[in-house]
Symmetry: C3
Subunit: 138 residues, 3 copies
């Protein structure tokens, strides 16, 4: 059995981090799938999916670390060739990857108590970011 | 067909790296699934799953690199706000992600000769870490 | 329904980045699966799968960042213990992970307009790199 839904979430870009756990749980419920997996994918080349303990201080820590990893002011060949000032966005996204997959059991995604699902929009401007959620199982 | 099992593995924390290839292969065998995928997920917000050539020198190299990426002594807002001294653990985990998925063929996970499946427990203390293994296929 | 195929792609190593979107789309077409997921895995402990806007300037930016993250000249215990000069390759691969999974809908992998699927071969020499593509769905 396969059940897929996508949704759009507005972000501010610059590695804005949004908690999408409720949306994912809703889609898993809609699927009526009891046991299986759920794949959560950001559509596009400048966003990532991961998990975090979603509290404001840690969210800022993560953003600091992304800035330390590759600064939004770092000159890139992508920028100098195309005039796109979001080379840093692409590199953060390729490094972290576009998606995660986690188990579904008892009709719920398996997460720890302090573990939430997030989209990180690395792009350098506000976006309407599409997230695709695919549930597979029985 | 879906077959899921979880197990608990004791870790020392601080990006302790444990080889869980045997446990995953056992669960794939138990599933009787011949062709499909296996999803391996660390439950919680301070651990990651990946693969490595599991030999002691390289395991230490990986730990050095995680320390260089973000030190366990780096001050974090998470620490100063909540008194949780594991901000670095969360950031390492969010960066690397909580899970991997690999193919199953001929009733075995597809891995290279020198490629083992690992859990990395980034937390700053020993843990009993739960790993969930979900096999899907036919 | 499960459909798996693997292919081999020649790389130059040293985080050579190859666009494998066409190969993946072909295998998804061969599968006749309309809705589901596709898992793309690099076989071995020195390669990664991710997505990127595949244009030459950005590909070089990504390689620069991998070199900055851990240089191919960085001394490693893996190198000094075994004489394998590819410690950096392993660390890049473990950090980025061996695989990605993305949704399949309407018989196509879901990707953004500027998003291509890549294998990054981190090894320190040319390789014939095997990539396994597993499609699951209905």
């Amino acid at each position: 059995m396969v059940h897929g839904e996508s949704f759009v979430i507005p972000t501010r870009g610059n590695s804005d981090i949004k908690n999408i756990t409720d949306q994912v749980q809703k889609i898993v419920s809609n699927s009526k799938i009891m046991e299986g997996i759920v794949n959560i994918s950001a559509v596009g080349s400048t966003a990532s999916i991961s998990t975090i303990e979603y509290e404001p201080a840690l969210v800022e820590d993560m953003q600091d670390q992304l800035e330390k990893f590759i600064s939004h002011t770092a000159p890139t060949r992508h920028g100098s060739t195309w005039g796109d000032e979001n080379g840093f966005s692409h590199i953060r996204a390729t490094f972290m990857g576009p998606s995660i997959t986690i188990p579904v059991s008892d009709a719920r995604p398996i997460l720890g108590t302090w573990q939430q699902i997030i989209v990180i929009d690395h792009d350098n401007r506000p976006r309407e970011r599409r997230v695709f959620v695919q549930v597979i199982g029985e």
